[in-house]
């Protein structure tokens, strides 16, 4: 019973006109708390949180750096999950999600690399080191760029999206292998501070703004991706009847 209700929802949500209609309120529901949380997190992190006893004010870049790094990984993983859904159930929405999420995830990956490099100059004394985490993040950027480039290269949108789905699944299997092989090769980055299961090694006045910024940026990621999906959807279905009718009505 519950399963059939879920499947009904699944199929209804998979219907493109239905999705296009409900995407506006969903996007709004993501955007408002997302912007508020991110704004509070960044403000509290930059102004209210106490300075670090060792790094001074330079540590404050983590309020951008950590959410970006988190989203770079979350984005690729979500693309791979969507890739499996697209390949197994041939759900068009999942294909569109991959295409829409790739440039946004790539931007956050670039942001994580750039902020890390700006922080690294005063702290490590160099813009770039061939450290394990930095290198895996750089490779992750290339994986994103590969998906984007493949999508741009193949003309038929359906084939392009399915090819991107397969590539993201293959990529995500490789991400942990790449990460551990690079770690085996070299490591210098500081160990994890938040994800430890015992007490976080961070003052709560510093931690709350960080969590708020991370959650806010994640919601913004969802909002932007949803907006990208709407554009992709309109473009792909531009010859279908429901798009024509909708454009007529909105005129």
């Amino acid at each position: 019973m519950a399963k059939s209700a879920f499947m009904r929802w699944f199929h209804r949500f998979g219907s493109l006109p239905y999705f296009y209609g409900v995407s506006v309120p969903i996007a709004r529901a993501l955007a408002v708390p997302g912007v508020l949380l991110a704004a509070w997190g960044v403000f509290a992190g930059l102004v209210l949180a106490p300075a670090d006893y060792q790094q001074g004010d330079a540590f404050r870049i983590i309020y951008i750096h950590v959410p970006s790094a988190w989203l770079s990984m979350f984005g690729y993983t979500s693309m791979a999950v969507a890739g499996v859904v697209a390949l197994v159930w041939r759900l068009k929405l999942a294909e569109i999600y991959i295409v829409a999420a790739a440039p946004i995830g790539a931007s956050f990956t670039f942001l994580a690399l750039a902020t890390g490099s700006i922080w690294g100059k005063p702290m490590w004394g160099t813009w770039w080191v061939w450290d394990a985490r930095l290198t895996s993040e750089l490779i992750l950027l290339f994986l994103y760029l590969g998906v984007i480039a493949l999508h741009n290269a193949i003309e038929s949108p359906r084939t392009a999206a399915r090819a991107c789905a397969l590539l993201s699944v293959v990529g995500v299997i490789n991400v942990p292998i790449i990460h551990y092989s690079v770690e085996w090769w070299n490591t210098l980055h500081q160990g994890p501070t938040i994800t430890r299961f015992d007490r976080p090694a961070m003052d709560l006045d510093m931690l709350w703004p960080l969590l708020s910024a991370a959650l806010g940026f994640t919601l913004i990621f969802g909002w932007l991706t949803l907006w990208g999906m709407r554009v992709q959807l309109l473009w792909r279905e531009r010859r279908s009847r429901w798009v024509g009718r909708m454009l007529e009505n909105s005129r």
Partner: protein, 222 residues
């Protein structure tokens, strides 16, 4: 199932050895990259030995990139690939047979040629065995992973640069463990750890990559 594997393997090897020129081209490319590299440095023994693992593996990666573009293209152009797709035999087995044939015709040559090249770079002779073993374990994985990229870009006539963007990031583990094994062997450390990991990557590649290649071929021929 095994029958179709041997049949495709035999056919592809036969085609490859009827065109011996192409095989020689792969080898010459490999030799040229390695032979030109010292001309860009001061050709001092210590520097060349230190960079030789990276150099050998980069040459292998570049050669793989060039040769992989031919993996499915002839079959795609003359329609054989569509017949494979229509046949009741599992496409993954055919893909594995094609990659195996490709590796025998191009990867194995690098393994055989490598001792000469690394001795040219001044690598001590006691490391040659490990170097050959690392290439023997690493190059098939390059073919398997690269096969996914080639299959995805099959409909694009000139996919060379795009293919490098798709598959080079996936080659990172093979590069690290392959070059790591060479490095360890050169300075006299045990290389078994890196070789085991290369073997593990190959095992994963043989079991997972044929299915991914088959799925990619189906997408490209849709």
């Amino acid at each position: 199932m095994l029958g179709v594997f041997w049949a495709v393997l035999r056919r592809d090897l036969l085609l490859a050895f009827r065109q011996r020129g192409v095989l020689v081209h792969h080898l010459l490319f490999f030799v040229l990259v390695v032979a030109l590299f010292p001309l860009g440095t001061r050709a001092e023994g210590a520097i060349l030995v230190a960079v030789s693992p990276a150099l050998i593996w980069m040459a292998v990666l570049l050669a793989a990139l060039l040769s992989l573009q031919r993996l499915f293209r002839p079959d795609y152009e003359d329609g054989t690939l569509e017949q494979y797709l229509l046949s009741p035999e599992p496409l993954a087995v055919i893909a594995l047979a094609k990659v195996t044939a490709y590796w025998i015709a191009s990867g194995l040559i690098f393994v055989v040629a490598s001792p000469l090249l690394v001795l040219l770079l001044g690598v001590p002779a006691h490391a040659v065995g490990v170097i050959m073993l690392s290439l023997l374990l690493g190059t098939p994985t390059l073919g398997l992973v690269g096969g996914i990229g080639t299959a995805l870009t099959l409909s694009l006539p000139r996919a060379g640069l795009l293919l490098s963007l798709l598959i080079f990031p996936l080659y990172v583990p093979v590069l690290i463990f392959g070059a790591g094994a060479m490095q360890a062997a050169i300075i006299g450390l045990p290389a078994a750890g890196a070789l085991y990991l290369l073997g593990a990557l190959l095992a994963l590649g043989v079991t997972a990559a044929p299915w991914a290649i088959a799925a990619a071929l189906k997408i490209s021929l849709e």
